[in-house]
Structures are given as C-alpha cells and as structure tokens.
C-alpha cells in the first residue's frame, strides 16, 4: 500500500509535470495570438506600416479598446452575433423556392477525407545492433472528427519486437488542437501484451511546435503518459532539420516488460529531411535514447544498455 502510494505520487508528479504543460498550451492556444500591446508597441509594427499604403484617411483612434483585442481563440462574448440571425427562419432545401432535400447541394465541407502518413520508416543502428523502426498514422473523416490509427514499432531479425497500435477518435476542440480518445495495444516479444484506454491532445503550439500528449489507463491500475514534441527548421524550401523529443512515464512497475514507474525513457532525435516531394521524404538522423529510474535498473539487470546513440536513415511518406 505504501509502495503503491509512492508510485502514485511519482506518477502524479510526472503527470502534473507533463500535463501541467497542457494548460500552458491551452492558454497559448487562447492567448498565443493575443495581441500583447506591451510587446506590440507601434515601433515594432513600423515595418508593417512602412509597407502599408498611406491612405490619408481620418485616423483618429476614437474609442478603440486595445485591452480587449484578441485575435485567436477565446470565448464568445454574450453579445456575439447569431450566425443564423439573417435567415429569418428560412432553411435550406425546404420552403419557398427551395429544391427538395434529395437535390441538396453537398460540398466538400461535408465530405470525408483520408490520409496515410508514415513519419518514420527507418533503419536504425546502435552499438553494433541494427533494426528497423516505423511510426505512422492513417486518418479518415471530416474536418472536425476523424478516425485515426497510429502505429509504432520495431522489427529486428525479421520479427516484430515491439509495437504500439492505437485506435483513436480525433476530435477538434480549438483552432490548433485536437483531442484523441481510444485504445492502445502494446505488443512486446516475450512479454505480455498490454491494453490501455487512451486520452490525449494533439496540436500545434505557438512557434509551430507539434505536440502530442496522451495519458493511458490500463487494467490492474496501470497508467502511462506519453509526450512528444517535434519541430521543423526549414533550411531551404525542401531541406529541413527536425528535432524531436519524446518521453514516456508509467504509473507503476511492469517488470515483465522492463518498465519502471516514473519517467521510464526519453529520446531526443535530430533528423535531416529532404522533401523530394511533399509525399516522399528521405532522411538521415541521430537519436539519443536513455532509460531512467527503475526502467534503467531493469535494463541493466537484463544486460541492456541504459543509454544509446542511434544512427537512423529512412523515409517519410504519405498519400
């Protein structure tokens, strides 16, 4: 019980540390575009003014309330306009002059789209060992709701060594953020499979950081948290550096899978990618990976390295 408690505390600490970022991100969502007048002094917009046409209009500032200006996110004020106010009760495909519903106009906002995106399909070499790794997702759905399959895994000696597969419902909650709700299935060669319920956030933080943070709950009180951040630094229009960081936390020890509670592992990667086309992107890169805490102890006991540097070469592709 005591042990459980400390595990719980550690997990909570980790969760708070990581999830603590979420409100920040959420705020960033709300305030990222907030025109901060302290920083947006007119001198800093002068370059804009220099290019803007001089109009010679009356330019009195009148009663503009700068304090309320917020260009993104936020919530609607009470007196916000009703988007249906101009309809006067008219609807589409019924009533005067309307065509019947069987003839209704359906445009692509009502269509479903789909995409398959393999972010990593790579050959990995580290400490004399080599294997293949993959990570990708496929989605299908509308702008606001999509069914998503995410896959990730490693193949060595012609056999699938480990894999994580997620089936998710991705739902748009704000301009740049989606929630994901679903299931995750883990497969480890020589270890029991694990199933999890998954709930996470995915989106674009200010300064174009791609963030994916998901919490997991499994049977027997297992919990986990995964966080991934990725960034593209464009060197040219086609060549870019992609740093990424991924960390995983677990709520309690899972000795058979070599996972300890708390921060289990972290990986920092740097890939140099070249877009032959937007759909076909070969790359090379390097990754530093480390196991921490009890997870590191398990690895040591199993004779595995606690840390390793990996060289990767692979392909991103999508269609």
């Amino acid at each position: 019980m005591k042990n459980m408690n400390s595990q719980l505390k550690r997990f909570l600490a980790a969760t708070i540390a990581t999830v603590g970022m979420m409100p920040v991100l959420a705020c960033a969502q709300a305030d990222g575009g907030h025109v901060d007048h302290a920083s947006m002094d007119m001198s800093s917009t002068d370059h804009g003014a220099g290019e803007a046409p001089a109009q010679g209009h009356d330019s009195s500032m009148g009663a503009m309330d700068h304090g309320d200006m917020q260009m993104q996110g936020g919530s609607a004020p009470l007196d916000a306009r009703d988007p249906d106010a101009y309809s006067d009760g008219y609807v589409r495909n019924a009533g005067k002059y309307a065509l019947p519903p069987s003839e209704k106009l359906v445009m692509s906002d009502m269509h479903n789209f789909g995409s398959v995106n393999f972010d990593r399909l790579e050959y990995v070499r580290a400490q004399g060992e080599e294997w293949a790794a993959y990570e990708g997702e496929a989605w299908y759905g509308s702008t606001y709701n999509r069914a998503v399959i995410k896959v990730e895994g490693e193949v060595a000696s012609g056999k699938l060594q480990e894999s994580k597969t997620q089936l998710l419902w991705r739902h748009v909650v704000s301009t740049f953020w989606d929630t994901e709700l679903g299931m995750r299935f883990d497969h480890d060669r020589g270890a029991p499979n694990r199933e999890w319920l998954a709930f996470g956030f995915k989106g674009l933080a200010p300064y174009w950081f791609e963030v994916d943070a998901t919490a997991y709950v499994g049977p027997s009180g297992r919990t986990a948290l995964g966080l991934k951040v990725e960034y593209d630094i464009l060197l040219t229009q086609k060549l870019y550096l992609q740093p990424s960081v991924e960390v995983n936390f677990y709520g309690k020890n899972d000795e058979r899978r070599g996972l300890g509670s708390g921060l289990a592992d972290g990986t920092a990667g740097l890939r140099l990618k070249y877009e032959v086309t937007r759909q076909f992107v070969p790359y090379v890169g390097v990754e530093w990976s480390s196991k921490f805490g009890q997870t590191a102890d398990y690895a040591r006991a199993a004779g595995d390295a606690k840390q390793e540097t990996r060289f990767v070469a692979g392909l991103s592709f999508r269609f």
Partner: protein, 577 residues
C-alpha cells in the same frame, strides 16, 4: 502532334452560329506544346488561339471530356464543344437567348452565367437553382439579356470549373457601344492542374501549406538578423510564430501544381493577339481561374480601364491591375511598337500567364521577371491596427451615411473553424494589396472605380447585415462567420429591399466574393457609391460594404470564387422572398 495554324481570331469575327464540331480536331487541345516548367525556358512559338465565337440567340453546348496536354502529360479535361476555354458566346442586349446544354459526362453538370441577371431557375447552381443536368440529359436555358458588357460562364458542378468548363460571354449593347475600339480580344486567364482537383483539396486537408514553397527559412532568418539585427529579425517573426500563421500564405495553390493559362494557352504557347500600330485595342480580361489572383500588366502600355464586371466605369488609366477569379476588366490600349507582353503573374509570384500583342505572328517582347514574394504585413493581419498610423480607421469620425464600423463577430467565430479575428479592420479601398504596394507602378484599386451613371437604385440602405469571411488555414477550412455551408442557414433578403452588406475579412487571404442574381453596389467607407460589381475582392483584414437591391425572387448562391474556398464551405444560400 497537330499544330494549330489559325491565328487568334480577332473579335468581332464573322458570326458563326453553327456548332463548332471541328474544334477539338483543330488543335486547340492537341496542339499545345509541352510546357517547360523551368522559369524562362520557352519552346518555339507554338500557338493556340482564343476560343471560337458563337453568336446569335440559339446555342447548343455540349459538355464532354477531351484530352488536353499542357505539361507534357496528357490529361482528361471537361470541355464545352471540345474546346478549352469554352466557345465565346456573343449576345445582344434585349435578345432572348436559348442555350441547350447537353451533358456527355458521366457526372452531373451545369452552366452558371456569371454576372448575368436572370430568373433564378436559369442561374445554374445545382442544389440551389435547379437539379443540375444529369448525364445524357439536355437542359435548356432561356432568358432575356438585360445588360451588356464582358461576362463569362462556367460549370457550377464539382470541380469542373477547374478542369475546363469556362468561357467568355460578350453582350453587345442595344445602342452603340460607348467604348469604341478598332479591334478587340477576349483575354481569359485561367489555371490548370494535371492533378484531380479533389486530390489537390485532399492534400490541402493533409497540410494547409502543402503547395507553399515560399516559406520563411532559417537562412532567411540569419540573413535578416545580419542585416537588421537579431532583435528586429525576431520581432519580424514574433506575431507569425505566436499565431501559427504564415506570412507567405498568399495563395493556397502555386505553380507547383498549376499551369497558368491565357486563352487556354500556356506561357510557352504564347497566345498572341495581332494589331496594327496606332489602333485602339479593347482587351476583355476575364479571370476564369479556379484559384488564382492575377496581377496583369503590359510593359510599355498604359491600361485604360473602361469597364469592370461588365459595367462601364469612368475611364481610369493605370499600369497594372489585380483581379481574382470571377472578376472582369475591359481595358483599352494603344500599342505602337511591334510587340508587347501581356504579363499576368500569379499573386503568390510562383508563375505567370503570358501572351503577346504583336503586329505580326512570331514576335515576342521581353517577359518581365516575377516580382519577389513579399511577406504579408501587419495591415494584412490586423487591419487598421497594423498600419501603425491607424490609417483607414474611422472610429472617431464615423460617417453618417456609411456602413457601421462597429465590429460584431459571430459567436461561431470563437471555435476551431477559424484561426483569427480582426477587431480593427481597415475600410479604405485604395490599397492595391500585398505585392503591389509601392512597386513603382500605378496599380488599380477599388477606390479608382466609378460606375458611369451612378447606382442603379437611389435608395440608401434600409437594413444592414454583417458577414465575416473566415477560415482556418492549418485545417484548410473556409466559411462565413465560422460556419461552413453544410451547417449554415440561408440569408434572407426581403423582396424589393435595399440592403447593405458588410463583408469583414477575418483571414489573411483575399476573397473574391460573388453574389449571384443581383448586383453588388460597392460603396466607399463614407457611403459614397463606387462601382457596380458582381464579384468583389475583399482583402485581408479589410471590411467593405456594398448595397444590394433584392429584386430577384428565388434562391441564389453567394460564395468566395476561389473554387477550393467555395467548396470547403465559404458559401451561403440567399433567399429573396
């Protein structure tokens, strides 16, 4: 491969009522030279001409598939009478025209008469004005022509207006034309993609900036930092990065997926219009592109704009004008030298359409280099706030007769369908727009347009409605008030009322807004009448207003004429009842 031998036909030509069956075989479609993508590389002067001209009061149009080859890759286009662009229709004001449109496609089709005042059942928008024309069927359009000028027609079904179903309409005035010229040409600009346009949209759904290869790079950053200092370089990017908006989001599509056409001819094909030195030549410019704003100029010639959207305006002489899909401008030029380039660069500066005015075939004039890509400014993001001097703001001195300047965002503008809101829009009309400001040339602006004879209806606005143009570039979603068409309710105009419409652009793109069935009478911020239009471009962070006399009963479409924006949901139904 057959090469076309016929020159571009000057208009007017001998009236040809007959159905032009031979056109496809005539090489307009097959004779296009492979277009070499690399800038500046042109093949020898293979030429295709303007579309054939059909005139009279009875027309037979057949919409089918044809093979085209603009890039070296044969593709299927949807065409009218086997021609791309579709035949030019020449009508006469006051006539009743009958147009039988036969559908030989495997999907529903339609023809919309862009800018033409007619009964709503003849307007040709499937799902709104009629049921569309099913495969194998013929629909007969019949209506009285109540106007004159330069217009165009196109399919309103699926993506057919991107794949070739567009053509010019010229309506001769009942009385003599006040615009006198020795010669005239239709110059119809369009864009072509070898890809299935639906696939293009799907790619934008994967990545909103899929086709933007003008994005800020680390190299740009270090160059800026060395030139303007680190802080200034960071400041320049701060807002964009915080807001996750791209300063080079000038067009969704680019030369990476489009081939720009002038009268159905690639830049390499070099469409050529002939003249005799000293003649006054009328050029009827039509932007029939699916997705491209063009900046048009003819180096060496002054352009006297005499008509906008088919309506005569007080002549204004400029060196360049920008127009978006749907808009038309008639321009008079008086060429004296042997050859001039008609240069129409895409707004995002990745490519151009190009043709030549020459005294004989085979002549060419230098083709200007594309202008550099300019970053959108704070004025494009924040409106009047971003101009520093607050130019264009009218808060302190609100005009008595003009549109309300008090911004009312819809409650649906606070959700995921939009990526920004503008609280301090600019209302001035004298901005040529991004990429054209201070370029050393006299560029047409909306403020330069004054329709001859004033407004059609002397009444002031009896009512005001405010609509916001909204979108989310990252998700590639477009809407009015944050609500896409599929979730929207119609907008009701009371029959006979004179209503003021305010369009407030909460995006960083320019949207050519086209209201079907009724004129949009653009006004200045102070309420002064400017011009009667059927398609009005609304710039980023701009708030414009126009008056509509709701004299056309029925259901009508109202949308952004960038086809992908329209299809993504920047579309409303209007009910006049």
């Amino acid at each position: 491969m057959k090469r076309p031998t016929a020159l571009a036909v000057p208009i007017p030509i001998v009236p040809r009522r007959r159905f032009v069956q031979g056109l496809a075989a005539g090489g307009v479609l097959l004779g296009l030279s492979p277009f070499v993508r690399a800038a500046g590389v042109r093949s020898d002067g293979t030429r295709t001409g303007s579309a054939a001209v059909l005139s009279g009061t009875e027309f037979n149009l057949e919409i089918g598939e044809s093979i085209v080859n603009f890039t070296g890759n044969p593709r299927i286009a949807t065409t009218v009478n086997g021609s791309l662009p579709a035949p030019t229709l020449r009508w006469r004001e006051g006539d009743t025209v009958t147009i039988r449109v036969r559908n030989r496609l495997r999907e529903t089709t339609s023809i919309h008469w862009h800018g033409i005042i007619l009964p709503y059942q003849m307007d040709g928008v499937p799902g709104i004005s009629f049921a569309g024309i099913p495969p194998g069927a013929t629909f007969t359009y019949r209506f009285k022509v109540q106007q004159s000028g330069t217009y165009w027609y196109h399919s309103h079904s699926g993506m057919q207006e991107a794949t070739g179903v567009y053509g010019a309409i010229i309506i001769d005035p009942l009385d003599s034309d006040p615009i006198q010229a020795d010669r005239e040409y239709v110059v119809q600009l369009s864009d072509w993609t070898d890809e299935d346009p639906m696939r293009v949209l799907a790619k934008l759904k994967m990545q909103g900036d899929y086709y933007n290869y003008s994005q800020p790079t680390a190299v740009d950053f270090f160059r800026d930092a060395s030139q303007m200092g680190l802080k200034a370089a960071l400041d320049k990017r701060k807002m964009w990065n915080e807001m996750r908006m791209s300063p080079t989001d000038l067009a969704d599509l680019s030369a990476n997926v489009l081939t720009y056409l002038m009268n159905g001819t690639t830049p390499a094909g070099n469409w050529t219009g002939l003249f005799r030195p000293g003649e006054c030549v009328r050029l009827r410019f039509i932007n029939g592109a699916a997705n491209t704003f063009y900046d048009v100029r003819i180096p060496g010639l002054q352009l006297t704009v005499v008509q906008a959207d088919g309506v005569n305006v007080e002549p204004v002489t400029v060196e360049e004008f920008r127009f978006g899909p749907g808009e038309t401008y008639d321009v008079l030029v008086q060429p004296k030298d042997d050859a001039y380039t008609v240069f129409a660069q895409a707004m995002d500066r990745t490519g151009c359409a190009r043709g030549t005015l020459a005294t004989r075939t085979g002549l060419e004039a230098p083709v200007p280099a594309l202008d550099p890509v300019e970053w959108l400014t704070m004025a494009d993001m924040m409106g009047a706030m971003g101009t520093g001097g607050m130019a264009g703001m009218n808060h302190g001195a609100m005009p008595v007769a003009g549109a309300s300047t008090l911004v009312h965002h819809a409650r649906t503008e606070y959700g995921p369908s939009i990526d920004m809101r503008v609280d301090t829009p600019r209302t001035n009309l004298d901005d040529p727009g991004i990429g054209l400001r201070n370029n050393g040339r006299r560029v047409l602006t909306l403020a330069d347009l004054h329709t001859v004879g004033g407004p059609m209806d002397p009444r002031g606005a009896e009512r005001e409605i405010e609509l916001h143009l909204t979108g989310n570039m990252e998700r590639y979603a477009w809407s009015f008030d944050g609500v896409e068409y599929g979730r929207s309710t119609p907008i009701h105009f009371g029959y006979g009322e004179r209503v003021r419409v305010i369009l407030h652009n909460d995006t960083m793109m320019t949207h050519p807004m086209h209201l079907h069935g009724m004129w949009s009478e653009l006004e200045a911020p102070d309420g002064q009448f400017q011009a009667r239009r059927h398609t009005i471009p609304v710039q980023p962070a701009q708030r414009i207003s126009f008056l509509v006399t709701a004299d056309a009963l029925g259901r009508w479409a109202w949308h952004c004429h960038l086809m992908l924006h329209m299809d993504a949901g920047m579309f409303r139904e209007v009910v006049v009842a």
